[in-house]
C-alpha cells in the first residue's frame, strides 16, 4: 500500500482568540505554525501547529460550526498531555505567560515529574518529564494508599 504518512490521532481545539492562542502555544510550548486557513470574514477556520513530534489543530470559536471554546462553555472535559525535557522550566514559563496553576509540578508515583496548568484560553495541559522507566507492576506497588493534601503524589 502506498501511504505518504502514518495515519493517527490528532487533537483539534477551539479558542476565542486564535492569534493570541498561536502566540501563546509558540512561546510557551514551542509550537510552530505550519498552515492557516481563514473564512472570508477573517475568522480562523484552522491553524495547524507542530508541537514536538505531534500536530495540534486550532480553530477560532465558530458557533455555527459547533466550534465552541471552553471559556464560552465554562470548562473543558479534556486535558492535553505534553511530555517535555524540562517540565519545571516549561511550567514556570507557561505560568509567566498567563497560564493558571491547577496542580504544581511534583514527583508522581508513576515515575514522572508532572503538573497541570490551565492556559489563558481555558484548555487544561498536563506537562510532564519522565524520570524513571517503571514496569506496570512497579507502578502498582507505588500507588499511595490515600492522597496527600488531595494529591496522588509519590510517597
Amino acid at each position: 500500500m502506498t501511504r505518504e504518512r502514518p495515519l493517527g490521532l490528532g487533537t483539534h481545539i477551539f479558542v476565542t482568540d486564535a492569534e493570541a492562542a498561536v502566540a501563546f502555544y509558540r512561546e510557551a510550548f514551542g509550537a510552530a505554525e505550519l498552515i492557516r486557513h481563514c473564512l472570508p470574514d477573517g475568522r480562523v477556520l484552522f491553524v495547524e501547529l507542530a508541537v514536538g513530534p505531534d500536530k495540534l489543530l486550532l480553530s477560532e470559536e465558530i458557533k455555527e460550526l459547533n466550534a465552541v471554546a471552553p471559556t464560552t462553555l465554562g470548562g473543558s472535559a479534556v486535558m492535553l498531555l505534553l511530555e517535555l525535557d524540562d517540565v519545571d522550566s516549561a511550567f514556570t514559563h507557561a505560568v509567566e505567560m498567563g497560564a493558571t496553576v491547577e496542580m504544581p509540578v511534583a514527583e508522581m508515583f508513576w515515575g514522572e515529574r508532572y503538573g497541570i496548568v490551565r492556559d489563558p484560553f481555558g484548555h487544561h495541559w498536563a506537562l510532564c518529564t519522565r524520570r524513571e522507566q517503571l514496569a506496570p507492576d512497579e507502578v502498582a506497588e507505588r500507588v499511595p494508599a490515600e492522597p496527600t493534601d488531595g494529591k496522588w503524589t509519590a510517597r
Binding site: 502506498t2 501511504r3 505518504e4 504518512r5 502514518p6 505550519l34 498552515i35 507542530a50
Partner: protein
Amino acid sequence: MSSTSGAPAITTAGFQVLLALASGHSHGYAVMGFVDQLTEGQVRLGPGTLYRTLARLVADELVSETETSDPNAPHDARRRYYQLTSLGERAVREEAELMARMVDAAQTAGLLDGSRRTT
C-alpha cells in the same frame, strides 16, 4: 524525544526530505521525485505533506530556504529551493547512522536479501 545532539525528533517524511536535500536535490519538485524514485513509488509525498514537512523542518532550523527561491513565487514548497542547515546535516547523519544499525540487525536476523546490501 530528542536525539543526542539535541536536534528535534525527525518524522519519516522529514528524514526522506533531509535525505533528498543531502543528496543534492534542493528544489521541491526534485525532492518529491527523489523520494518517489528511492522508494520505487511506495512513498509519494503529496504537495500538502511536502509543504508541512518542509515548514516543520524550517521551524526546527534543520532546513533553510535558499536565496535562489523567487520571493514572488507562489507559496508552494514544490516551487521553492531548500538546503540543509548545519544542525540539519548533523541530525540526518545521526538518524542515518541509527537506521544503518537497524539495517545491520535486520541483515543479521536474515530479514534482508544479501544482494540488496551495498556496504
